[in-house]
Each structure stands twice: as C-alpha cells, then as structure tokens.
C-alpha cells in the first residue's frame, strides 16, 4: 500500500471516530484550542491541583487584610457608635459600644 493510501485510510478512521463518538469529537475540539495540553489529563498535574486547592496567601498578614476587606463588603453598615468614653469614668455595660456582629446569620433561617 502506498503511503498516500495509508494516510487517507487513517483520515477515514479518524473521521469515523468523530462521527461515532461525540467524546472524541470534543477531544479534537479541545486539542485544536489548546495544542499544548498534556497527553495524560488524569495524571499528576490535575490531581496535584486538586490536592492543593485553596487560595495561597503570602503570609497571615496578607490573609487577614484580605479577610477584613471582604468583611467590610459583606456586612451591613454598622449602627452609629456611641461616643467614645475615655478615662472619664469607669464604664458600665450600657456605656460600652456594642460588639460588632462578626457573623451574619444564614438567610435560610429567616
């Protein structure tokens, strides 16, 4: 068999594959878009990504800053604080500012 004929038989097989299997057609699509995609998808890379899921921060300070930013966005604006009492007299429980509710209740529990 000449190489030309061999090539066309391969092509035919490929075409048949895509017609028979929608999965293979999808695979061809993916490879066309990402030609450098690894040959073994279920291999170490994918699994390693899964094992280390979660956002990495530079350090705990970075983490706490990010959390504070998010909290300010999420919480409703706090009620106006009572005027600060400094050194005037020993405060009673009524004088102390209300502790900010750090956690918002679930909307399912409404």
């Amino acid at each position: 068999m000449s190489s030309e004929e061999e090539a066309s038989i391969d092509e035919q097989q490929e075409m048949q594959d895509t017609v028979v299997s929608p999965e293979k057609a999808e695979e061809a699509k993916l490879k066309a878009r990402y030609p450098h995609l690894g040959v073994r998808p279920g291999g170490s890379d994918l699994l390693r990504k899964r094992l280390t899921k979660g956002q990495k921060y530079f350090d705990s300070g970075d983490y706490n800053m990010a959390k504070a930013k998010m909290k300010n966005k999420q919480l409703p604006t706090a009620a106006a604080e009572k005027t600060e009492i400094t050194g005037d007299h020993i405060p009673t429980p009524q004088d102390l500012p209300q502790r900010k509710q750090s956690l918002v209740a679930s909307k399912l529990a409404v």
């Binding site: 293979k24 695979e27 279920g42 170490s44 705990s60 983490y63 209740a105 399912l108």
Partner: protein
C-alpha cells in the same frame, strides 16, 4: 409520564422553598450539604459560610390534615470559621462539606459536621423549663443582700419559651493533611470514618486526640500519584465494612477485620472500559463524586459525571444498573472542561425503600429513576413552580434540531444553576433539593 416510584405513580408537588430571592447570591449562602436525620423529623443544611441550619417538621394536627408537616427553622449556628494554615500559607475554608446525623439515643440530637480539615460533634438540645425562686439572686440576676434573706425556699421549675441550643461537644482536629471529602457514622454508633484525598481515618466519638489511619494511598513519590479518594461510606449494618471510591471510577470495599491498615481491598469494583472509546475526557468523567450504600446494605450506588450506577456488592466486574443522567452533555465536554463544570461533584441518594434513586443536574433540574419500572423523570426546582402544592411538571431537554414546545435545548441550559445536593426522607416521599442558595422541599401528593 406522571411520576416515579414503587408500584404507584408518585406525583411530586411543591411544598416549601427557603432562602433569599435576590439575584446576587453571596458566596457564603451557597448550600453545600443537605441531610435528613434518621427519623426524617429534622433536616440539616450546611453552607459555604460555615453555618448549619436545622429545620424541624411540624407535627401534623388533625384539623390541618391536608397540609402535610412543614419544615420550620429549629436551630441555626456557626459550625466552622475560616482559618489560616500558617505552615502552607493556605486558607482553610469554613465551607461545610458534609453533615451526618447520629441516631437519636436521648432527648438531644447529635450531628457531625466537617469542613476541609476539622470535624465537630454538635449537640442540639431543647430547654423549655427554667428554675425560678433562687435564694441568693433576684429574678433579674442581681445578687441579693445576704442580710435581707430571712427564709429559704426551694427553686421551682417553671415552663419557658422553647430554646434550642447547639453546643460543640467534640472537636476532631489535626488528623487530615488533605481535604476531607466524606464522613460516615458506623453502625456500631461508636465510631465513624473521615476521608480525605489520600487517607481515611477511623475515630471513636468519645476520643478526639487520636484516630486510626485505616487507608493510606499516598505514594512515596508524589510524582507517581495516579488517583485520589473521592468518597467513602460505612456499610449500614456490617460495622467492619466500608467502601471508598476513586477519581479513576473504581470502588474498593474493605474489611477492617482483615488488617489494621486496609490498603488492600477485599473487593474491587470496576466496569471494564472499551479501549477504543477512550478519550481525553474518559478518566475525568469516570471520576466518582459520590458513593452511597442502599438501606438494605445489599447494593451501593455511585455517581460519575454523566451517570448513576447501582452495584450489587456480590458482583465486582460491572454494575447491575446504569442510569444516564444527562447524556446530552457528552457532546459538550470541551466547553464543560473549559468552564470547569466537568469537575462538578454531584451527589445521589436512595429513597427509603431503595426502589428509587435521585440525583441533580444543571439548570436546576434533578432526575429520579425508578429501579423497578425503569422509568425516569426530570423535574425542576424553580420559584416559578412555587405555588403551594403545585404539581411539578416533567421537564425535557431536546438534543436534536426540532425543539418541541415545552422542551429546552442543551445550549440554553444554565450551567451555573447546579443541583449538587439532594436528600430523600428516610421513610416518606419528601425530598429536599438544594439549588445554590435556596432549599426546596417537595412532597408526594398522596403522602
């Protein structure tokens, strides 16, 4: 087709929906787990914000026989908070991955809730009496002047408004290097297992400072890693047996009597694959996202990306039943890989009699399969169908060119509306379906 289940046709009707209606869903409000307790009286949900909400079914009263017991909020608490892993500089999410109830042994209710790293045992108890008539303090709590007390009295228990308190009784921490995906209470009601990507640990409910490692699939060289543990469950009756599923679509059944470390399985369940049909996506879509034993303990069910399979524990070489959940997605795998939907982890559940199974899909659709009649139905959790006791209409996805009137085409499906978590009441035909930040409860008309 009117309905699914047993010998009769069941007709699913809307009962309740919980949660906010806003378009803008806060990440913390996304429901991450749903679980009925053993009697079905209580229904617990966990969310990405680390909160647990427990609903209780109303007692049915004689004069309201038409409206079956509704679920109302019983208790809510913050189970887990976000933490920071200083060693790895990684955030530990507060998201509740799983809730599992313990069987009720006294007046209080107990449940286990877990995030990626820490499992907690919560006690939920009722208080409907309080002591009044103390000698040393007034009713408002202020101490009485001891010189003004002239007589002794015995405090009396008086009824008070019901208060439901949740308190953490045990905290099982620092036993998992990787992310916990499953917890399962053993039938001995004394131990439970917790599974992460590479290891499974066995705990005693009373002991928090140590646990036994019973499965460890971490390779010596991480470069050789080929599969991870995706789910695990204890057998419902045999306290020595448990199963775990993998990202390669296999299930291993282990017997704790055989060895202390169950790295060698007793049974290995895998469906043979046709090598000619293998593609880039094959392994990814074969990854099992959930495994559940039947109530009878004779079968187990696994959920992979496109199907649900029922396995007979006595037959390892193939499942006895396979149900296609959304086969029409097979020709969309490329885009589902690009938008990461192909990694969505759907759960599945049995009904109380093991005659039907349910699992979720996209577009807020969920599917039910009757194992006896082999009929299936697609239903939708939507606020458009939320008139009380409104019957749910079956939905259909059209794959071909010609779309019939009520059908929806594959390309119109909303892949952000995923139903990953569903639960079926252990005894009745009542189901809970989590649709992002809303919880839907449906009941069978004839219940």
């Amino acid at each position: 087709m009117a309905g699914v289940g047993g010998g009769n046709d069941f007709q699913w009707c809307f009962s309740q929906v919980k949660g906010a209606i806003d378009e803008d869903v806060a990440e913390a409000d996304i429901i991450s787990t749903v679980e009925f307790n053993y009697s079905g009286e209580l229904l617990a949900t966990g969310d990405k914000g680390g909160r647990v909400v427990i609903f209780q079914r109303e007692q049915e009263s004689k004069n309201r026989s038409l409206s079956r017991g509704e679920y109302n909020v019983y208790s809510t608490f913050q189970s887990h908070e976000p933490e920071f892993d200083y060693l790895k500089s990684l955030e530990i999410e507060e998201k509740i991955n799983k809730i599992r109830w313990l069987p009720q042994q006294n007046a209080a209710h107990f449940l286990l809730s877990t995030n990626d790293k820490t499992i907690k045992l919560w006690k939920i108890s009722e208080r409907d009496k309080r002591a009044e008539g103390y000698n040393l303090k007034d009713e408002d709590g202020r101490l009485r002047d001891p010189f003004r007390i002239t007589s002794l009295r015995v405090p009396v228990l008086m009824p008070m408004d019901l208060m439901v308190e949740a308190s953490p009784r045990r905290i099982f921490a620092n036993a998992h290097t990787y992310h916990i995906n499953s917890i399962s209470v053993n039938s001995d009601y004394q131990t439970y297992l917790s599974a992460d990507d590479l290891r499974i640990n066995l705990w005693h409910l009373e002991i928090t400072d140590r646990s036994f490692n019973i499965v460890d699939i971490k390779p010596a060289n991480m470069e050789e890693l080929t599969e991870v543990i995706t789910a695990a469950e204890c057998h419902p009756h045999q306290c020595n047996v448990f199963v775990y599923s993998s990202s390669k679509g296999t299930i291993r059944l282990c017997d704790m009597r055989a060895a202390a470390l169950c790295d060698r399985h007793s049974k290995f369940f895998e469906e043979p694959e046709d090598p000619s049909s293998r593609s880039f996506f094959s392994e990814i879509i074969s990854s099992i996202s959930d495994v559940k034993f039947s109530h009878s303990g004779r079968y187990m069910m696994t959920r992979d990306y496109l199907s649900v399979k029922v396995w007979d524990l006595n037959m390892e070489n193939r499942p006895v039943e396979t149900y296609q959940v959304h086969e029409y997605l097979r020709s969309k795998l490329c885009s589902l890989y690009e938008n990461d939907c192909i990694f969505d982890k759907f759960e599945c559940c049995w009904n109380g009699s093991d005659s039907a199974i349910m699992t979720g899909s996209y577009n807020n659709f969920f599917r039910m399969f009757d194992r006896n009649t082999r009929r299936d139905i697609t239903l939708e959790a939507s606020r458009e169908n939320s008139k009380p006791r409104a019957m749910l209409k079956p939905r259909k996805v059209c794959t071909g060119g010609k779309r019939k009137k009520d059908e929806i085409s594959v390309d119109s499906l909303d892949f952000n509306k995923k139903i990953l978590h569903t639960a079926w009441h252990p005894k009745e035909n009542v189901i809970a379906v989590a649709a992002t930040n809303n919880l839907y409860i449906f009941q069978d008309k004839m219940n």
